[in-house]
């Protein structure tokens, strides 16, 4: 079986996804814009509300990550028979649990365990 694989590889030189110039350029221009906007928002102090700025730059970061995934990492539901996407989705679930769980638990630990220090420490 492995001999057969080696053999077929010699013929199918196209091992990975096919990339195009326009795909890379679309991804690059989009990510330049999506990087420039948050830096501008923070450096020029556009919004007076901190929370609004945080929500917008986090949203732009998420969009930019999706752009990189599609145009640079060539993610789709078909590559490697869908296993790429399945492992990505599973990892995203774990990442969400790690991040949201840690922040949630530790925030409440701070609030409940150190009531006197909250005003001073934050």
């Amino acid at each position: 079986m492995s001999e057969h694989n080696q053999h077929s590889l010699e013929h199918h030189e196209e091992a990975g996804p096919h990339s195009t110039f326009s795909g890379y350029m679309i991804g690059f221009i989009a990510s330049v814009i999506l990087t420039a906007i948050p830096f501008w928002l923070v450096m020029a102090d556009v919004f007076s509300s901190r929370n609004m700025t945080v929500v917008i730059i986090l949203g732009l970061a998420l969009v930019q990550i999706v752009v990189h995934m599609i145009y640079f990492l060539h993610m789709n539901f078909r590559s490697e028979g869908g296993w790429n996407m399945l492992s990505l989705l599973f990892t995203l679930l774990l990442v969400f649990i790690t991040l949201a769980g840690s922040l949630w638990v530790m925030y409440h630990m701070n609030v409940n365990m150190m009531p006197g220090m909250m005003t001073g420490s934050s």
């Binding site: 990975g16 990339s19 110039f21 990087t35 990189h68 991040l99 420490s121």
Partner: protein
């Protein structure tokens, strides 16, 4: 994943059959490397979670707003972003079978990576010099752990890239080297994706306080 079909030896060879499933991948390296990247992603998730928990624990020391030099970070970000597209150009040259073009764009990518790493080391040196080293506060410990781990990944990416340049010079664009180029491409773009999280959560949000 049942791909094999038992065929009686006595039957004539000219028959047709249908495999009702996805074609089996010929080589699992790219999928395996992707799964490695996903596990790497979990390391960064843990580091981001640590940073998120400790990012307000200044211990009376300097805050992100005091320390971070956003124009420098913007320059660093642009290095990494441009290196992503130059790596893309290297892949396009590879697809056309042009060895010298592939090596040229790879080398440019490597130079941009070295520039990124140099600026980051300068920043770390500056921070430690002004007394904001990792031992100063929990905030700075988690900052150095997260950004330092990303920097180490870039360093190993550059070492890999140089090794690959030597391999390309010696053996050309053969099947093994193409596979390696695909793997390094995923690694490099993945580091760029992690950096999006770093500059947004660490530098930009840190400067807002």
């Amino acid at each position: 994943m049942e791909n094999s079909i038992a065929v009686p030896v006595s039957q004539p060879a000219n028959f047709e059959f249908l495999v009702r499933e996805e074609e089996h991948v010929a080589n699992g390296t790219l999928l395996g490397f992707w799964i490695y990247l996903m596990s790497d992603c979990l390391i960064f998730a843990a580091l981001f979670a640590t940073y998120g928990v400790l990012s307000q624990s200044y211990a009376g020391g300097p805050t992100g707003a005091d320390l971070f030099d956003l124009p420098l970070v913007a320059l660093n970000t642009s290095f990494l972003l441009v290196s992503s597209i130059t790596y893309g150009f290297a892949m396009l040259q590879m697809q056309q079978g042009k060895l010298s073009g592939t090596m040229l764009w790879l080398a440019i990518t490597g130079v941009l990576g070295v520039g990124f790493l140099g600026l980051e080391l300068y920043e770390f040196y500056h921070l430690i010099h002004v007394g904001a080293g990792p031992q100063t506060s929990a905030f700075l410990s988690s900052f150095f752990a997260l950004v330092g781990t990303h920097g180490l990944h870039v360093l190993f990416g550059i070492l890999w890239l140089v090794t690959l340049l030597v391999q390309l010079r010696m053996y050309g664009l053969n099947v093994a080297n193409r596979r390696r180029l695909f793997c390094l491409s995923m690694f490099w773009h993945f580091l760029d994706v992690v950096w999006i999280g770093v500059f947004t959560i660490v530098y930009l949000m840190g400067s807002l306080s």
